[in-house]
């Protein structure tokens, strides 16, 4: 299995730049996910690695060999398409062994590998069927088997699970990951679904506007997003990005009508505080309780947890129809917060992230403790 490196890869269509100088390394046997919103260039990047698009500039190295301008069939890659791209007129067995036949692998060898791979993806009973006679999950497995049987160094996958229903997608995620581990495949996987990225990836490359915004293990991207884009793209509900503004004695939340400073340092205008919804703590209001007074303006129950929408309030009479400046907090179980009453909002130590006016994480980031002690009471 193999090592894949992308160096300064670009793609222009006329005047439009779809991919801009992307560099990326996928280690041998690792699972790398290209994650991003639609139109971010992730599919174009994958298609360039596959050889289905010609790169405008840059290099693609597989085990040190530059294959950027090599015929797709000679790159030692296989690919799983979003549509599966199964040949409708061929049986499952013929679909899986198509490439082996084209490459004139002897029949005995073909059959040996077919039996092995069919066993692996649990398709042994369906080898004589046509794709039209299979369920979505089974078709997905055929596509996977066709990619696996080639025993190629690198396997590319273009949103392979997006045509499955939610339940099946979850099961296939597990299966795919297990298969990749077992075979030690180097996988480059494109998706816009952050759950897939989080649950399967060794490395996530988050893309936006044709460039890689941040890459690293999923937990690093989640805990320590490099930009507000990364912060808001990962996590459901996304990280709260709360603009700050300078006030007397430091910086306060722009949404706070009472200008209570959270930190002493003075920062440039346009900085923002990032807080994950699950890192926020909501406590009942008490005269001397710490935290910002907030009122609940929305409530979204998910079964295992509840997401509340909050607003910082001065008087406790927040307009519930104004979602602007809404802070989302995720609390376990069913929370029936009193919609009218004032609550106290604070957050776990080390939970706060600070972003500069350019949307990038400020480095070094000052530690912003949760609001301590008795906050100023609304008069």
């Amino acid at each position: 299995m193999s090592h894949l490196e992308i160096r300064g890869l670009s793609k222009q269509w006329g005047g439009i730049t779809a991919v801009k100088e992307v560099s990326l390394i996928a280690e041998r046997g690792s699972f790398t996910v290209l994650l991003g919103p639609s139109g971010c260039g992730k599919s174009t990047l994958l298609r360039m690695v596959a050889g289905l698009e010609e790169p405008s500039a840059g290099h693609i190295l597989i085990d040190g060999r530059d294959v950027a301008h090599v015929d797709p069939a000679k790159r030692g890659i296989s690919m799983v398409f979003q549509s599966y791209a199964l040949f409708p007129h061929l049986t499952v067995a013929e679909n899986i062994t198509f490439g082996l036949r084209v490459r004139k692998v002897p029949k005995a060898e073909r059959n040996r590998r077919l039996v092995q791979v069919a066993e692996l993806v649990d398709l042994s009973a369906y080898l004589d069927r046509r794709p039209a006679q299979l369920s979505g999950g089974q078709r997905q497995r055929v596509a996977l088997a066709r990619a696996v049987i080639a025993e190629h160094a690198v396997c590319l996958m273009d949103e392979p699970l997006s045509n499955l229903d939610a339940k099946l997608r979850h099961a296939m995620r597990m299966e795919l990951r297990a298969l990749q581990r077992r075979l030690g495949m180097t996988v480059l996987y494109v998706t816009h679904d952050q759950t897939e990225a989080m649950s399967m990836a060794d490395q996530v490359a988050l893309m936006n506007g044709g460039t890689v915004v941040q890459s690293g293990p999923p937990e690093v991207l989640y805990k320590d997003p490099a930009t507000t884009f990364a912060a808001r793209f990962l996590g459901a509900p996304p990280m709260n990005i709360l603009p700050l503004r300078p006030v007397m004695g430091g910086m306060a939340l722009a949404a706070d009508p009472l200008d209570r400073p959270l930190m002493r340092a003075t920062l440039p205008d346009g900085c923002a505080l990032g807080l994950r919804p699950e890192d926020l703590i909501l406590a009942p209001n008490a005269p001397q309780a710490p935290g910002l007074p907030v009122s609940v303006i929305s409530e979204d129950y998910h079964g295992a947890d509840t997401v509340l929408g909050l607003r910082i309030t001065s008087t406790g009479s927040a307009d519930p129809h104004d979602p602007k400046g809404e802070i989302l907090v995720r609390l376990p179980g069913r929370v029936s917060a009193e919609r009218q009453g004032i609550q106290r909002l604070s957050w776990r130590d080390d939970a706060a992230r600070l972003f500069g006016p350019d949307g990038k994480k400020r480095d070094p980031s000052p530690r912003i403790p949760p609001p301590q002690g008795p906050a100023q009471e609304p008069e």
Binding site: M79, A85, R146
Partner: protein, 292 residues
């Protein structure tokens, strides 16, 4: 009147216009033809009488019919496979990223727009001995002139060439439409597996075009059995019936020789043949064709 009965009357009233046209112009003539084929041809002196299978026996013993039938089969064999092959080649050609392909597509389709009579007149000019285009080119190259349509050895071939020229563009449109519905993913997947252009065509594109090929094949065969118009302009079935085709022979029998009963018999034979061809094709090829 019960509401049930009233809705039946409504239904029949709604069906009536179509039914009258269909019965008057399709079913009655069809049944009439079969009936007529079982009777002798009636004249003022000799009224028509029941003949049973006599007319059909006459078909079997008719040397002109044998020649015409042979011509028709030859004509089908000589026009259908070349027209389909040409159509497929043209479709593959203009489906690719060709510069000015809209113009090429239009050029290929133009013969289809022209009426058959007009086409026949154009080709008549090509084939005319001495002053025709072919002979003029021949002169330039120092080849002796030839009476293309007057020679029993070349006349049928001339009509075949013209028919292929006329039909191929029409069939190309069907192939082009089918090619454009093929998902590009399939071709890409095949390319990644190392398949070359020929392998992709042979193993992916062509099998996936089979439904179109079947459709085109049936249409082409039926057309070749029904072809009649250019014969009026070019050869009138001659010389010595060398270009006489089934439908033209029926026309001659019915309207030149005024043998209505024999023409009806020949019509029944032709229709049986066409139905047989269509059924065989559907039955044999359907099993081997994948339909999405």
């Amino acid at each position: 009147m019960s509401p049930d009965r009233r809705s039946w009357i409504h239904a029949w009233l709604l069906l009536m216009p179509a039914a009258i046209v269909l019965i008057g112009f399709t079913y009655y003539p069809a049944v009439g033809t079969v009936v007529e084929s079982l009777w002798t041809n009636g004249t003022v002196i000799r009224p028509s009488k029941f003949a049973g299978w006599d007319n059909y026996a006459q078909v079997l013993g008719d040397p002109v019919f044998r020649k015409v039938f042979r011509n028709t089969v030859l004509f089908a064999l000589g026009t259908v496979p070349p027209a389909i092959t040409l159509a497929l080649l043209m479709a593959l050609w203009v489906n690719g990223g060709l510069a000015g392909r809209a113009l090429v597509r239009l050029a290929y389709f133009t013969p289809t727009i022209l009426p058959m009579i007009a086409v026949a007149n154009i080709w008549l000019f090509f084939y005319t001995p001495g002053i025709g285009l072919l002979d003029q080119i021949g002169h330039g190259l120092g080849v002796e002139g030839h009476n293309w349509l007057g020679d029993a050895d070349t006349a049928l071939a001339c009509i075949m060439v013209m028919t292929v020229w006329k039909e191929a563009g029409f069939f190309m449109i069907f192939y082009l439409a089918a090619l454009q519905t093929l998902p590009p993913d399939l071709i890409e997947a095949a390319r990644l597996e190392g398949a070359g252009r020929w392998t992709i065509f042979r193993r992916i594109t062509f099998p996936l075009l089979m439904p179109t090929t079947l459709f085109v094949l049936i249409n082409a065969l039926l057309n070749s059995f029904k072809l009649v118009d250019p014969l009026f302009v070019l050869t009138k079935g001659g010389p010595d019936n060398a270009t006489n085709l089934l439908l033209y022979y029926i026309y001659e029998t019915g309207f030149s020789f005024f043998d209505g009963a024999y023409a009806a018999t020949l019509t029944v034979v032709l229709l049986t043949l066409l139905a047989g061809i269509a059924l065989t094709q559907f039955a044999v090829l359907d099993r081997r064709i994948h339909y999405r």
